[in-house]
Symmetry: C2
Amino acid sequence: MDPAFLAEVRHILDDARVSTGESVRALHARDQSSHAACLPDLVVWPQTTDEVSALVACAARFRVPVVGWGAGSSLEGNPIPLAGGMVIDFTYMNRILALHAADFQVVVQPGLLYKDMNRTLARHGLFFAPDPGANASIGGMIANNAAGTRTVKYGATRDNVLALEVVLADGSVVHTGSRSVKQSAGYDLTHLFIGSEGTLGLITAATLKLAPLPEQFSAAIASFPTTTDAANAVYAIMGSGIVPAALELLDASAMRYFLLNTPLDVPIAPTLLMEFHGATEAAIASELALVRELCADMGATTFVSGVGRDERDRIWQGRHHLFHAMVQTHPSQPYLITDVAVPISHYPELAAFIAELLDTMALDGALFGHAGDGNAHTVVFAPSDDAETLARLQHFNDQVVEKALALEGTCTGEHGVGIGKQKYLLREYDEATLTLMALLKRTLDPHNILNPGKVIPSSFLL
Amino acid sequence: MDPAFLAEVRHILDDARVSTGESVRALHARDQSSHAACLPDLVVWPQTTDEVSALVACAARFRVPVVGWGAGSSLEGNPIPLAGGMVIDFTYMNRILALHAADFQVVVQPGLLYKDMNRTLARHGLFFAPDPGANASIGGMIANNAAGTRTVKYGATRDNVLALEVVLADGSVVHTGSRSVKQSAGYDLTHLFIGSEGTLGLITAATLKLAPLPEQFSAAIASFPTTTDAANAVYAIMGSGIVPAALELLDASAMRYFLLNTPLDVPIAPTLLMEFHGATEAAIASELALVRELCADMGATTFVSGVGRDERDRIWQGRHHLFHAMVQTHPSQPYLITDVAVPISHYPELAAFIAELLDTMALDGALFGHAGDGNAHTVVFAPSDDAETLARLQHFNDQVVEKALALEGTCTGEHGVGIGKQKYLLREYDEATLTLMALLKRTLDPHNILNPGKVIPSSFLL
């Protein structure tokens, strides 16, 4: 690293907020995926937008890579500093800047953690609906267009951001969108940055759409003989016009892990976890009656509803912990998690395909995911880390993505492209479309300093 | 016009689909706004994406301006061919390409008219929710990010488009988005084109999100002593967590025009027109009871609910016809329509400001609009077309926009920037943000052939 660059950085921030220490760098070298770690050269902790702007302007002059860092909870290597350089850790930019409760809006800094924010908002009867499971940072959720269990009703992060403050690759600061929920004033820059994974700019503030905490809710659990039966029930429920607040599918293997941490009197069988939100008990009761009938039509063996608030909270806590529970029972085994999504009419075919593939490949894995959105996660573990075994994991992922694309779906519903999904983009998009994405990247970041090596395949950036 | 260009166009399309006739050009010279007409040099009617691509590629070689044309129903001069050139009329590209009823999706060509599409979709129990009033084309709705009465519940066009096929300025064709409702696979190109008013590319196909026709609905009408009382009721309703399917405010003047065409037993007074959608009668009844109470708290003098389907249809037809009814009663008088929107907490202040301004300026005008979204339209008429009178209309608009921006709002909620709103963009956005928009325009359309003179102020394109 150029000592002149470091000197300038130390001129922008006091010493306590600049680190080149080995252990600090190691803490910013990998996310929750199995992708290989890469050490940044230094880590900085700005406290203001002006500081971020000055840091990026400085990095631009010295052509130093810049990667934003939130909670490090992403699952596709999104923030791994592949080219070293400077990691900007947003931990100290974690304030709520303004709460507009009457407008169901909040303005926050990117380092604010999702759960911390929702704890504060709950005191005002409000919540930010996208629910990634992990205690992600808001900046990271926006950068990756995170989603989660409640997206089936409330939308993904993409659908719940009104305005952004963004530091561009030259250090200039732009303000996109509006606090007005309606706006047709020029190009939609807000959505250009959402899901761009820090490759087009660094988010330094965000205005989020909130939802009122539901007056009434009800959870329900249905068990099925086969994964395909459960997937057919998902399709039937979504086609009925009912909008669940969550509709999760777990195969028998996922249920085994789930029940380890969340004891419930339900069988180890393919299962739907559901939640319904409404204004009145009566409205929810009539929805539940219809859902019970649809599940029965698809062969449900058990249907439990009317669980109380505590049990419901316990169920969702268990669901959110599921991925980590699986990883923890396979200490130091390499793993891979799929994130494909398809139109709901194709979901039963996708689920059946994955179930059969897990079976024929005799992989140690489990299928789960946000079924109401057509989103399927499968975790598969490698019994060893030899090349052949890892290649089998990769082959599994390839097959699943291939199938999802054949079913008019996507290689990534919510984890983002990061490192692992770049090779699939040219199958998901045609060359002209990917060329346009690359053109945007080159235009907004001509020296390729913003999270280099991510999203756009490097062959498109030459 | 270069005869070589015309010859190439005639090579791409048969003669019947190319016109340089005066009357045809005049039909493509203005929209429904008061902005001055401009004749294009020729009008063409492609039938396929390949033809659009060939036409644009040809125009690019000859540096001929290209403007897309739908129904000509926009309100800000958006499709007026300011620089002449070629208008691409999408009338013959008006097919439904695929209906995915089980996924609540439809794939259509841009020339399909909104009402024609929804008539077909109704047979499948589905509808496209954004409701611009006019029988707009789908391509035009996407290009302008149109919204309307139902946006308060269902979102604007921006929120209801999943994927696009777009012809770029060099004639290349890109495919954005996915049929999967969740996708985090690279940059969100779909939203970049929505609302770009034909200045970044021409939409040749769109995949739309549909909603199921509501099982139950109920309309309600409440009258108030003052516009501010009605606006306060809007704020109270939206703050209650209830999500109306429509929440429109009409001041006394707007009501006078409304009742001319839609006789109803309600007073000529500031009025809220409302609709509620739900799964059960009981759910709607409980919402109505709360709304009635909130309106009473704000001083409502009458509250009529429980109108039948025919009367409800008549009310919304009358509401949609309102703008034209006003224009028709002022034959050949210049007019101007505002389209500001603000956060809902600021809506009462905005409405009060407009009411007072109409009064103090003694303008012949009426306030109405999609109040639930904080969106306010005011039509004002000029008694004559002398410069001084027109300057007063413009001064009125300036004042209203200024107020909306001071209230953290936007100069255009749904009509787009077109010609009339460019001068306000530099007040709505800071210079760096508008510079970024201009950079995108220059990057995607380096020769400025796509709808030149729109959206981005020309000083930013030098």
